[in-house]
């Protein structure tokens, strides 16, 4: 069975930018047939939530280091480098799925 990937989507306040990124990556995962659980959080919550998650997508600076792969997703806000960012998100999720098999 293919693993369902648990993805944290974080920004500073958990209000604005992560909302935009949530919808972008939701569609992206759907288009690539990757089964995910998305959770929108404040970046301050990431440290405690990483245990139950596989990857972290953030629009803000990372205040610490994490045990799970992290991706900076400012490009979804500025429109700069979106293709590369999409590829990084998909590649990371696929790698997590491969490793779980």
């Amino acid at each position: 069975m293919t693993k369902k990937v648990n993805v944290l989507v974080a920004c500073g306040a958990g209000i604005a930018t992560s909302t935009v990124v949530m919808s972008k990556v939701e569609q992206l995962f759907k288009d690539n047939n990757i089964d995910v659980n998305l959770m929108q959080i404040k970046i301050a919550e990431a440290a405690s939530k990483q245990e139950d998650a596989d990857m972290l997508i953030s629009t803000t600076v990372l205040p610490t280091t994490y045990s799970i792969p992290t991706i900076k997703a400012m490009g979804y806000l500025t429109g700069i480098g979106v293709d590369k960012l999409n590829k990084e998100v998909i590649d990371t999720a696929k790698k997590i799925q491969d490793e779980a098999n």
Partner: protein, 159 residues
Amino acid sequence: MTTNNTVEVSDYLRDQLIFLHTSFKSTDELFGAVSDVAKENGFVTDQFLPKITKREATFPTGLQLEHRGVAIPHTDADTIKKEFVAVVVNDQPVNFKRMDDPSQEVGAKLAFVLGLNKPHAQLEMLQALMSIIQDDALVEKLENVDSVSTVHELLSNKN
């Protein structure tokens, strides 16, 4: 994706919170002015100013676009009593730290101060705002805007 084009950034504009031809020298001055008017008109609590100042210091919101900078400062939902998007067009760029790298700064003439209190609920408006930010010609128009009515015009019917 279901995109609801009936929601526009202009729906969130409040005329008192459109600041044109200002000459703020810093984010502190800018936040202070926005907070004063927002508080006076019942949009925010007393905690808005300290919280947005602190949040901007820790998690800055300056976005480096291809040709210019824009900032989208915002803070916790519990400081917002009535939702708004404040528009600040400063004559000179105000230095914001960059969202992706706080060790660097970006000069922004245009700032959208987001007063949002329903986390996750304003997707359409935020998507509309992001597509505005990504439209260089439109941002340039906003940087040179002269009237509140033009701001409304430029921020409606986008997409």
